[in-house]
C-alpha cells in the first residue's frame, strides 16, 4: 500500500506539471493580449506595449514558465493582473463559496439519486421505475443555467423566500450562507443527480440478478437487509466511480451557475480571469481544480478498498 501511495503521489506531481505546462502554453497562444484588455479600446497601443513589457510578457515563454514554476513550487502563484492581489489569496477567498456549493450539490445528488435509483431498480419495469426514469430524463434534458433561472423566478421573484443571487457570507451566520447556496446547489446538482439515478438503477439491477441475492432471499433474509447488505454494497463500486467523476463535473458546472446566481466563487473567478486574460489567476485556478480532481480520484480508489476488501493495490 505504501508503494502504491508513493506511486500515486508521483503521478499527482506529474499530472500537475503536465497540466500547468499545458495551461501555460494554451493561455499564452490564445489570441488576446492581457495588456490590451487592461487598458481597453480607449487606451493607446504604445501604453499597451509598455504595460506588456512591465508585465514580463515579452520574454520567451519558456523563461516565463520556468520562473512561474519555480515560484509555484515555493507556494507563490503570482499576483492577479486584474485585482493586484496574490492569486493564492484570491483562490482561498473564493473557496468558502465554491466548496460548500459543490458539497451541497453532491450531498443533494447522493441523497436523491441513491434512494431513487434503488427504488427504480426494485420496481423494475413497473410504474415507479418508469416514473423515476422520466424524472431523470427531464433532469438530464434541462440545462443547469435554465433550471437556475426557473428556480430564481419561482422562489425569489414570485415567492420571495430566498435572495435571487449573491452570497450573504458565512460571517452573517450558517443559515444565511446555506440559504444563498440552496438554489444554486439544486440547479447545479440536477443534471448529475439524474445521471446518478440511472447509474444506480443499472448497477443495482445487475446485482439483483446475482445468485447470492437469490440465495439470501431464499434463506429468508429480510428485503431491507438484502438491499442494504447484499445489493447496495456490491453495487457501489460503479456508483462511486460515476459519482467521483461527477464531483469534478460539479466544479466545472459551478462556472456557469455562479454567474447566473452572481456568486463570488472559483468558477466566476476563472471565467472573469479568462475574459480579462489574467494569466496568473487562470493558471492558479486550473492548477487548484486539477489538484482537487486528482485527489478526488485518489480518494475514490481508496474507497474501493473499503467497499470491496478483495481489492488490493500492491
Amino acid at each position: 500500500m505504501r508503494r502504491y501511495i508513493a506511486r500515486r503521489v508521483a503521478a499527482f506531481v506529474a499530472t500537475l506539471f503536465f497540466v500547468s505546462g499545458l495551461v501555460f502554453v494554451v493561455v499564452r497562444v490564445l489570441p488576446g493580449d492581457p495588456a490590451l484588455v487592461i487598458i481597453g479600446a480607449e487606451g493607446s497601443p504604445e501604453v499597451a506595449a509598455r504595460l506588456r513589457e512591465s508585465l514580463g510578457l515579452n520574454r520567451p515563454i519558456l523563461v516565463q514558465y520556468a520562473e512561474w514554476l519555480s515560484r509555484a513550487a515555493r507556494g507563490d502563484l503570482g499576483v492577479s493582473l486584474q485585482y493586484d492581489v496574490p492569486v493564492g489569496r484570491l483562490i482561498l477567498s473564493r473557496l468558502p463559496v465554491t466548496l460548500p456549493l459543490t458539497v451541497m450539490a453532491a450531498v443533494l445528488m447522493a441523497a436523491t439519486a441513491l434512494p431513487l435509483g434503488l427504488y427504480a431498480a426494485r420496481r423494475h419495469r413497473r410504474a415507479g421505475d418508469y416514473l423515476a426514469m422520466v424524472v431523470s430524463q427531464v433532469g438530464i434534458a434541462i440545462p443547469g443555467f435554465w433550471a437556475g433561472l426557473l428556480l430564481i423566478l419561482l422562489f425569489s421573484v414570485h415567492l420571495g423566500w430566498v435572495q435571487s443571487g449573491g452570497f450573504a457570507g458565512w460571517s452573517s451566520g450558517l443559515w444565511p450562507g446555506v440559504r444563498s447556496l440552496l438554489l444554486p446547489a439544486i440547479a447545479l446538482g440536477l443534471f448529475q443527480t439524474a445521471v446518478l439515478v440511472r447509474a444506480t438503477r443499472s448497477s443495482v439491477l445487475d446485482v439483483l440478478r446475482e445468485d447470492y441475492v437469490r440465495t439470501a432471499r431464499a434463506k429468508g433474509v429480510s428485503e431491507l437487509a438484502v438491499l442494504a447488505k447484499h445489493t447496495l454494497r456490491n453495487a457501489m463500486i460503479p456508483i462511486v466511480t460515476v459519482a467521483g467523476l461527477q464531483l469534478g463535473q460539479l466544479m466545472a458546472g459551478a462556472i456557469i451557475l455562479e454567474s447566473v446566481f452572481a456568486l463570488p466563487g472559483l468558477g466566476r473567478l476563472a471565467l472573469g480571469a479568462i475574459t480579462a486574460r489574467d494569466l496568473p489567476v487562470v493558471q492558479g485556478v486550473t492548477l487548484f481544480v486539477a489538484s482537487t480532481i486528482v485527489l478526488i480520484n485518489f480518494a475514490v480508489d481508496l474507497l474501493y478498498v473499503v467497499l470491496d476488501p478483495r481489492i488490493r493495490y500492491e
Binding site: 493580449d33 487598458i39 479600446a41 480607449e42 493607446s44 486584474q82 433561472l149 425569489s156 435572495q163 463570488p264
Partner: protein, 494 residues
Amino acid sequence: MRHLARLLLVALALAPLASPAAAPAENLVVQVATEPPGLDLTATPASATAGVVFYNVQEALVKVDRHGKIVPWLAERWHTSDNRNYTFFLKRGVRFHNGRELKAADVKFVIDRAMNPETKHPAPANYEAISDIIVKDDYTITFALKNTTANFLLNMARQGSVIYPREAVDTLKSEPIGTGPYKLGEWVRGDRIVLVKNPDYHVKGLPKLDRVTYRFIPDPNAALAALKAGDVDAAMFGLGPEHIPDLQKDPRFQVIVGETTNDVIMSMNNSRKPFTDVRVRRAVTYGINKPEVVKGAMFGFGRVIGTNVDPLNPYFVDMSGAMPYDPAKAKKLLAEAGYPNGFDAVLKVAPQYYYTVRTGEVLADQLQKVGVKIRIEQIEWGQWLSRVWKDADYDLTIIGHAEAWDINNYAKPTYYFRYDSAEFQRLFKESEVTVDDKARRELYVKMQKRLVEDAPVVWLYIHPRLAVTKQGLQGFWKDLPAPAFDLSEVAWVK
C-alpha cells in the same frame, strides 16, 4: 415519504419568516454587469471602473456636469488670459478621505505622474500639451501649455485626471482615496463594492445616501430577477432593451431612458478591399435602414445618428438623414465600383456586448438585399482587441465608442478604421488649436460633413442609457455626458 412532504411544507412555510428585513432607506443597492478590473482611474480607462470611482470616490479640478457643461469643481474657478496659461484656484478646506487637506502640490504630483511614461497612464496624450506646472501657493496652480489647446479643460475633467493624495498612490488599484462624496468601504472581489458616505464632503448637504452597494450581476435575466425580487434597488447597466417595455408598465419601477456618448458604429476596414473604395463604403451606408436596425436590435431604444459627434456634444449636428436608406442607390454605387453582383464580407463581433451581435444580424439581413453577403464571426473580447482593434485584421466590425469627444480617432490613420484623409486631419488639427467657440463649431461641422462624405464607418445609433430603479428614488442623471455614474444627489423620497 409523508414525513418528508410534511417537513418540506413546514420548511417552506417558515422560510418567509427568515427573510431579512427591508434595507433602511438611506442605503442603496445597485446592480452593475461588470466588475471593475481594478479601481485605479489612472491605470485603466474601463467604464466599469469609472462607473464606481469617477465622481463618487475621486474627482478632478473641473467636472462635466449632468448637462454636459464643464464646471469648476475641486478648483472653485480658473483663469486664462491667453489660452496658454491656465491658473486654477483650489477650493479651500477640501479633504481627502484620509483627512488631509487637498493642496496644489497634490495636483502637480498627479498630473506630473500622468505625464510620466513610466506610470503607464492610459491616455498620456491628454497631457502632451502641458509644458510646465507651477505651484504658486497651496491653493493656486498654473498650467503652462506648449500651444493653444482647445480641449485642455475637457482633458482636466476626464477620469484620468482625478486628484488623489500622493501617499495613496500605491494602493489606487484596490483602495482608491479621493475627495469624492463616498469613501471605499469594502471590495469583496467577485461579489460587491461598498461605498460609504464621506461626512466631510466639500459640497454641503451631499451625499444624501449613507451607503451604496454595487452588486456584480453579469447575467441580464438574473439582474432582472434581482430587481423584481427586490434584492437590488436599481439596475444601472446590464438590462437589455427587451426588458424595458415590461418594466415601464410595472408601477413598482421607474425607467430612465436617456442619451449617452456611446455611438454604435459598423466600421469598415478602409485599408482592405473592397472598402478602400469610397463608393463601396457609401453603398454599404445606403444599404442600411438605421431606424429598422434600432427597432430590430434595440426594441426601438436608441437615437439614429449620421456622424461621430453625439447629441450631448455642444457641436452636435443632426446628420442622420444625410445618407438615408436607398437600396437602389447602393446597388448602383456597387456596380460603379465594379461589384455589380455584390461581394462577401466577414463581420467580427464580440458577444460580450450583446448589441453588437443583434445589430450584426439585422445588418446582415439588410445588406444581403443589396448584394453584400455577410458572414458573422463571433469572437471573444480579448481576441477582438487583438485582432480587430490592434491589428485591423477584419473586414467589418460593430462596436460602441463610449468615449466623449473622440472625433480624434478619425484623424489617426493607424487607428483600426484605417481611415486616412489629409483633409480631415487638417481640419482636426485646426480644431485642436481653435478656442473661439463659433470658429471651432464651424470646424466641427466641416469635419462631420467630411466624415459623411468619406463614410469610413457607418454611424448607426446612440446606445441609450437604460436604467431601472425602484419608485421613490430620485436624483439620478438622465443623460450620461461623462463616463460616470454620479450618485451624490441620489436619495430616497421621504
